[in-house]
Symmetry: C2
Subunit: 232 residues, 2 copies
Amino acid sequence: MVMTAALSTEEFTTALRAHSDRYWHRHPLHLRLHRGELSRQELRQWIANRWYYQKCLPQKDAAIVANCPDSEVRRRWVRRVLYQDGADDRHGGHAQWLDLAEAAGLSRSEVLDERHVLPGVRFATDAYVTFARTRPWTEAVASSLTELFSPDLMRERLAALRAHYPWVAAAGHAYFAERPAAATCDARHALELVLAHCTTRERQQAALAALAFKCEVLWSILDALEHAGRAR
Amino acid sequence: MVMTAALSTEEFTTALRAHSDRYWHRHPLHLRLHRGELSRQELRQWIANRWYYQKCLPQKDAAIVANCPDSEVRRRWVRRVLYQDGADDRHGGHAQWLDLAEAAGLSRSEVLDERHVLPGVRFATDAYVTFARTRPWTEAVASSLTELFSPDLMRERLAALRAHYPWVAAAGHAYFAERPAAATCDARHALELVLAHCTTRERQQAALAALAFKCEVLWSILDALEHAGRAR
C-alpha cells in the first residue's frame, strides 16, 4: 500500500480554493443574469427554482448537526439553520428570498407550492441534502465551502439587479445585501473545521471530492434551468 | 381493504398517555434508585451510562429538524439542541449532567471517554438516534412523548437524591431541578404536533408504535445496567 503524505495546511487550502474554477459563477445562465440579459420570465424562473435550493438548506445544515458528535461545532453550526428559518416567517434568509420573489412579480403561493421547480433542480438539491445526511459530517462541512466563493458573486448579483432589473423592487434586495457578510463568516468557520479535522491525505481527498460534488450540484441546478429555457 | 376510522383527538391523547404503563419509572433499577438502595458504585454506573443517552439527544433532535420540512416546527425544535448543548461548555443540560457526575465522585474524563458505557446502553441509545434519522419526523416527535411522563419522575429523583444520597453534592442537582419545567413545555409542543399531524388511523398507530419503541429504548438502558450489576 502506498502511503501518501498529508498536504500541508497551505497546500490543502490552496487545493480547496482552486475549486473556484468549478464554481457556478461561470455558468452561462449566471453570466447572462449578471449582464442583464434575462427576461422577466427567465429571472422569475430562476428565483422560483432557486427557492427549492434555499428551502432545503436548513434541513441540510441540521443533518450536519445531527451527524456531528462535537457540541462546540453543533452549537455554532445550528446558527445556519436559524439564519435561513429566521425568528419567524417575516425574518431570516427564507423570508428574504420570498421577498425577492414577490419583488420580481411572483406570488408567494406559486413559489411555495413549487409549481415552477424543475425536476433537475429538485434532483440536484436533494442529492446535496442526501449527501449531508449520509456522509461523514466533515465531508458535508467541506461541501459547504462553495461559500468561500459566493460573497463576490452575490455582491455582483446585487449590482446587476440594481443596474439591469430596476423592475425588481428594492424590497427584494435584502438577501443579497446581507448574505455576503454572513457567508464570509460561515465559510471561515467551515474552512477552520475542514483544516482541523481533515489531517490525513485520505480525508483531505474526501473533502476535496465533497467540494467538487457541491460544485456539480450547483452547476446542475443552472443546467436544468438553461435547458428548460432552450426547450421552450 | 378495511378502512379504520381515525381516533378522536381525545381518544388518541388517551391512548398516548396510556403508554405511561410502559415508561421506565417502574423499572426495578429506578425503584431501587428512588428508595435510596443504590450503592455509590451503582449510582455512578447509572450516571456514567445515562451520560451516553444524554450526549446523543442533540443529534437525535437535529435529525428531527433535518427531516422536517416545516420551518415553524424546525425553529422551535432546534431549541432542544441548544438546551442540551448550552451556550458553552459550562452551561446547558450536558454541562449539568457532567456536574452531577462530578458531584457523585466521577471524573469528567472517565465520563467523557465512555469507559463505563455498557454495550446494551449504547445499542439502545443508538437505536433511538437511528429511529429519528430514518423514520418520518412525526414519528420521531411521537417517540419524544415519554416527556409527558418524565417531569414527575425527575422531581421524585431530585427528592431521592437529597434524601438518600447526601454524599452527592448539591451542585449536581441542577439538571433535575431545571429539566421538569422544560420537559413539560417540550412535551406540550410535541403532543400538539402529533395531534395536528397524525390525523389518520395509520399515522396514529405509527405514533403509538413510536412511543412504545421509545419506552423499550429507555427500559432496555436500565436492563443493561441491572444485568451488569447482577453479573458483577
